[in-house]
């Protein structure tokens, strides 16, 4: 389907592969694999940020957030020291898969199935930047990043975005969210 190649560094020529990108009744479904080997002393981790005009963006006062970050009982349970308040994440690390997720067998690919109820009027837009990174200590080095997402319209329909390599503007917002929420890490 969609292959995005790493264009520089020691993993040049390796890639991520979006094997599923499909509308659902109320959102979108995505699955991504990669073929990047893990070097000694390093980890390969997914990092995902989400930008939206939904209630989480308003409640958290952050248009772009490291995913997940929002309000809601069993889902968003962990307070982030750098961003106190009602909004919570699912652990204290900037990575998509938590330690518990990985222990449960998640990875090495990424899957997600975001959804949202239709708005009373207009549209709710949700846009993700998903990056494969190589982590050395506290340095998170981005290898390749893509942009994807969808709109939920007032008539209930779902409009999926095109899949493309994340732009500079999107990467700036992505990096800003990471630095704001998890300042102990360095992002390159």
């Amino acid at each position: 389907m969609h292959v995005f190649t790493i264009d520089r560094g020691p993993h040049k020529g390796k890639h991520i592969h979006v094997t599923l990108y499909q509308k659902t009744e109320d959102g979108l479904k995505i699955k991504i694999t990669h073929n990047v080997p893990t070097a000694a002393g390093k980890q390969i981790q997914w990092v995902q940020t989400v930008s939206s005009n939904n209630s989480f963006a308003r409640d958290c006062k952050m248009m772009t957030r490291v995913d997940p970050f929002g309000i809601g009982g069993p889902v968003n349970t962990v307070s982030i020291p750098a961003v106190p308040g009602l909004c919570k994440a699912d652990d204290l690390l900037p990575f998509y898969w938590t330690v518990a997720d990985l222990a449960a067998g998640r990875g090495p690919g990424l899957s997600d199935e975001p959804s949202i109820s239709p708005p009373a009027k207009g549209r709710l837009w949700t846009n993700f930047v998903t990056a494969l990174t190589e982590v050395t200590g506290k340095t998170v080095h981005h290898l390749v990043a893509i942009s994807w997402g969808y709109d939920r319209m007032a008539d209930g329909s779902v409009r999926e975005n095109a899949l493309y390599r994340a732009t500079m503007v999107e990467m700036r917002a992505h990096g800003h969210a990471l630095k704001t929420m998890y300042p102990d890490y360095k992002y390159t």
Binding site: F69, V75, D90, R106, D112, E113, P114, S117
Partner: protein, 178 residues
Amino acid sequence: MKAPLFGVPLLLALAAGVLPSQTDSAASLSVRIVPSGFTATGTRSIVLVDPMQHFYVVVTNTGKTTTRLWRESCSWGYANLSFEIQDQDGTTLRVVKKPRTWEKNVPDWMVIPPGDHLVLEVAFDAATWQSPPMPRPGQQKLVSLRAVYESGDTPEASTGHVWSGRVVSPLNSYTIFR
């Protein structure tokens, strides 16, 4: 599981000999409401005076084999618990969770060995529940309540071998304090 989940309220409920649950379409699970406590006359009480307070619903694997249940932290399990309230005239009202936005959302189940439990916390907070049966602040309300645990036969459930079906707790009277 967090330690308090198996504390005094659950022991009290078990000691009180709550009636066996009804089972609709699956014989290997049961569900029951564990109240906050019991009054001197034995009435079940649910105390939700402080926003941090909650009561529990316990889903038990009564079968002989391990089963899988969706966690509440994914869309497949989030709304599986609901309640039915019966009015004095017999009218049944459903209390369900409000729809929520999902960003990170992956199928996530919990393995429940035979005899073990999935314990769900319920606070009947207005942010989570549609039309919860809450009295006005400082007041109390007597309700006939039962819990419904229902999990759909979705493609993800089939792929992950996650339990699907519907089980219902006994209909009992509870005094809700707010």
